[in-house]
Amino acid sequence: MGKKSVVPFGPQHPVLPEPLHLDLVIEDEVVEEAIPSIGFIHRGLEGLAEKRDFNEMMYIAERTCGICSFGHGLGYVEAVEHIMNVQVPDRARYLRTIWSELERLHSHLLWLGLAADAFGFESLFYEAWRIREKVLDIHEMTCGGRLIFSVNKVGGVLRDINADQQKFILDQMNVLEKEIKNIAKVFLEDYSVQSRSKGIGVLTTKQAHELGAVGPFARACGIKNDIRLTGYCAYGELDFEPIVSNDCDCYARLEVRIKELFQSIDLVRQAFAKIPAGELETKVAGFPKGEYFVRI
């Protein structure tokens, strides 16, 4: 047994795009404990909600996180719409679903790339990010922005996806599917990736429950929980099954995300097949008053 020593890690560190400070307690070159301290990027945007108009707040909600900006904005508008009892037109619901899934594609590819970088597979990181640019091109074409969408509003959406764009997106989905298959092979079958992910970072189903894990992280811990099943936006009318793995390790997290990429491509196709024509927004009058809780 060696002596314990503490190595400070961060807040600035090459492997982290975001600042986080960890005190790593190390014993014989094995990290025994990691004590985090956070808050370096605390901005206090909840305080802005008191100062801004409720329509403007959508844009601030989106800037909670640049990677999942559409999700944050969507959560906000859904809550306000429920409080105000606004019925969103069907076309807007489908468009929101499509953008959500496109965002999931970019977010998962980003995560996979950074994971590859973290385990030292730089060419895989570059490949994942190269594919991701194709999704960002779709964002740019449909919303004008690459990361911050700003197309949601209380009552509907601001932009439509026309027939030409729809054809382009569906063509791109075929290209993406092919390219993602290539990287999926490396992520899931490569020996060196497996040696760095199988059995590493195990979080048991019980621990995940207790810590309140959500999303793909929870699903990789064997929790069959997908908020999309509650049927917000147009998810209730689309056909999908949550992707779950019972391995609880880093490999399971890679696997769940890779499979969800294909699921998102499928959902985009389904949504385009079913999207009705019609209005983009309902007129909203008055101010929201009350409380509502949304999970996205």
């Binding site: 807040p11 600035q12 560190h13 090459p14 492997v15 795009p17 975001e18 600042p19 808050g39 370096f40 990027i41 605390h42 901005r43 206090g44 945007l45 305080g47 802005l48 100062k51 844009y59 601030i60 800037r63 909670t64 996180c65 640049g66 990677i67 900006s69 980003l110 790339g113 990181f125 570059y126 990010w129 190269r130 640019e133 960002l136 922005g145 690459r146 990361l147 911050i148």
Partner: protein, 150 residues
């Protein structure tokens, strides 16, 4: 552009929403590939020449940003990426944000955008490389003249 030196980049996320950070990374990955300009990304402030900072300054990160800047060897160039780093942006009025990066360190180049696009980040890097070149030349001339005086 006449590249005589290959400056190293240091990236730090002040209090950004991550939008600008991933655009900085996107500017360094294959499609935009800023590395073809002779720069390379490093994690070590003591080896860095150009400091890319995203996000505004808050009470907790102010000393971190200042320390990173101080650890960089002279000459150095600072690029503020995104409106948050330029002025505090959309979060300027929150209780915890003090302002843009220039509240604690001198900023040379401001890259606008929310999120700043990879193209404009590359433009910022190109300008930073030129400024770094100029400062290095001045620095060399100064060292030479001091040596001559001795």
């Amino acid at each position: 552009m006449n590249v005589k030196r290959s400056p190293w980049l240091l990236h730090y996320d002040g209090s950004s929403c991550n939008g600008c950070d991933i655009e900085v990374l996107a500017a360094l990955t294959p499609v935009y590939d800023a590395e073809r300009l002779g720069v390379v990304n490093t994690g070590d402030p003591m080896q860095a020449d150009i400091f890319l900072i995203t996000g505004g300054i808050n009470a907790q990160n102010a000393p971190v940003v200042k320390q990173l800047y101080d650890q960089m060897p002279r000459p150095k160039v600072v690029v503020a990426v995104g409106v948050c780093a330029c002025t505090g942006g959309i979060f300027k009025e929150t209780y915890n944000v003090l302002g843009g990066a220039d509240t604690v360190i001198p900023v040379d180049i401001y890259v606008p955008g929310c999120a700043a696009r990879p193209q404009s980040i590359i433009d910022g890097i190109v300008q930073a490389v030129a400024l770094f070149q100029q400062r290095s030349d001045e620095h060399d001339a100064l060292v030479k003249s001091q040596k001559g005086a001795n």
